[in-house]
C-alpha cells in the first residue's frame, strides 16, 4: 500500500510565511488603515522585541521592509526610531525607475507613456490649478529661459513638466510624471540634439500651455501639450535612431 493512501486526510500545499513578513504585514495594515497620523513613532526595536517575542533580527528585517516600501522613516540616535510616513510620489517614481532601467525599456515606451499622460495632466491642471500652482509654473518657465548649460536646462525643463503634473492635483499622475521625467533626464543628457533653437521652441510651447492653464482653457491645454510632447518625442527618437544601431521592431 503506497504511503500516501494511509489516511483520507488531504491537504493543499501550504505557505509558511517568514516571521519578518508576518510582522511587516501586520504593521503595514496598521499604517495603511490610517489610524496613525504621519509622524507617529513606532515602538523602539527592543520594545517590539518584547511585545512580539521575536528576535531583534526579525524585528529589524520587518522594519527594513517597511522602510524600503516608504511606509516608515528611520532615524538613528536618541529620540530616533521608526516614524510612520505615508507613501509618497517618490516611492512610485523610484519603482518605475527600476522598471525602466532594469528592463532596459525602449525610450520609445517612455515617450509613449508621456504622450499618454501629459495632455491629461494639462487638462486637469487647467481645471484644478490654484494661483500658487500658476506661480510655480511661471517661475519654472522663467528658469528654463534663463538656464545656461544643457544640464541646467534639462533640470529646469523637468521641473516645469512636474509642476504641470502637480497642478493637476492628482497624486498618481504626479508620481508617474516624476518617474518618467527622471528617466528621460538621465537618458537624454548624453545627446547633443538640444541646441538653442530647440530650447527656444520648448520655452514658447511651455508658455502657451501655461497660458491655457491660467485661463482654465482645458481643451487648449490638452491640445498644446499634446503637440509639444509629441514633437519633442519625435525629435528625441529621431536622434536615437541616428545614434544607436539597433532599431527594435514590433510584432
Amino acid at each position: 500500500m503506497p504511503t500516501g493512501d494511509r489516511s483520507a486526510i488531504r491537504l493543499s500545499p501550504m505557505e509558511v510565511p517568514k516571521a519578518s513578513d508576518v510582522l511587516a504585514n501586520e504593521l503595514r495594515e496598521h499604517i495603511l488603515s490610517g489610524v496613525y497620523p504621519e509622524g507617529t513613532p513606532l515602538p523602539p526595536e527592543r520594545e517590539l522585541v518584547v511585545q512580539t517575542r521575536m528576535s531583534r533580527t526579525t524585528v529589524r528585517e520587518a522594519l527594513r521592509i517597511l522602510e524600503v516600501q516608504g511606509l516608515i522613516r528611520i532615524k538613528a540616535g536618541r529620540a530616533g526610531g521608526a516614524f510612520v510616513q505615508r507613501p509618497g510620489e517618490e516611492s512610485v517614481a523610484s519603482s518605475l525607475e527600476l522598471l525602466i532601467r532594469g528592463r532596459q525599456i525602449r525610450l520609445a515606451s517612455v515617450h509613449e507613456t508621456r504622450e499618454a499622460i501629459e495632455p491629461s495632466c494639462a487638462r486637469l491642471a487647467a481645471q484644478h490649478r490654484t494661483t500658487g500652482d500658476l506661480v510655480r509654473l511661471e517661475s519654472a518657465n522663467a528658469a528654463i529661459a534663463a538656464s545656461g548649460d544643457l544640464d541646467e536646462f534639462l533640470g529646469n525643463n523637468v521641473d516645469w513638466h512636474v509642476a504641470v503634473a502637480t497642478a493637476s492635483h492628482n497624486e498618481i499622475l504626479t508620481g508617474i510624471m516624476m518617474a518618467l521625467s527622471r528617466a528621460i533626464y538621465t537618458t537624454t543628457d548624453n545627446e547633443g540634439f538640444i541646441n538653442a533653437e530647440v530650447r527656444d521652441i520648448a520655452v514658447r510651447a511651455h508658455r502657451s500651455v501655461t497660458r491655457a492653464i491660467k485661463e482654465r482653457d482645458a481643451d487648449a491645454a490638452v491640445r498644446r501639450m499634446a503637440r509639444h510632447v509629441h514633437s519633442y518625442a519625435a525629435a528625441a527618437l529621431e536622434v536615437e535612431d541616428r545614434t544607436t544601431v539597433s532599431v527594435p521592431e514590433e510584432d
Copy 2:
C-alpha cells in the same frame, strides 16, 4: 556679530550611508547594468560575508532591500539563495497600490488616471497587437459575459483591461494599469451599482473596442475606449457621491 557669520565656510548637510545600503547599492548597480542575466545566482550569504568583510546581519539587510525592490528572489534550502530578477510590472503595481491606499486617494483620482491611460493603451494596442493578444482579449471578453456573481465579473473585467494594456506592448503602461485595476477592484466591490444592464453595456463596449484593435483602427480604439472608461467612471463616481457623505472639493 551674529553667530553664523564668523566663518565663510558653508557646508550642506551630509549623508552617512549605512553599511547595508552601500552593499545594496553596489549590488543593485551590478544587477541593473544588465551584466547578470535573469536567474543568475548571487553568492551565498556566508560567501558575501567573507568577500565584503561585513557581518551576516548587514549582508542580509542588503539582500532584504533588494528583495523588496524586486531585484532578487530568495529561495531557501539547498541550491537556494538569491537569484537575479528583473523588476516587473508587479513591483510598480504594488507601490502604486501603497500610494493609493496609504494616501486614501480619492477614487476620482484613480478614475482620472484611468481616463488618461486607457485610451492610449487602446491606441497602442491597435498598432502593436499580435494575434496572441487578440486571442487573450477575446477570451477575456467571453469570460466576462459568462461570469456569474459580481466578484467574478469584476475580476474578469480587470483581466480584460489589463489584456488591452498588455497588447500595447508597453511595459510601463501595463504596470500602471495593473495597479489601477487592482485599486478599482478592491474599492468597487462593496457597491451594488453593477446590475445586469451595466454589465451588458460593458460587454458590448469591450467588444467594440476589441474589434477596433483587431482591425488596427487606432482612432476608433481610442474613441471607444475613452467613451467606455468615461461613462464607467461617471457612473462609479455618482454612486460614490450617493453613498459617501464627504465631497472633497478642489481649489
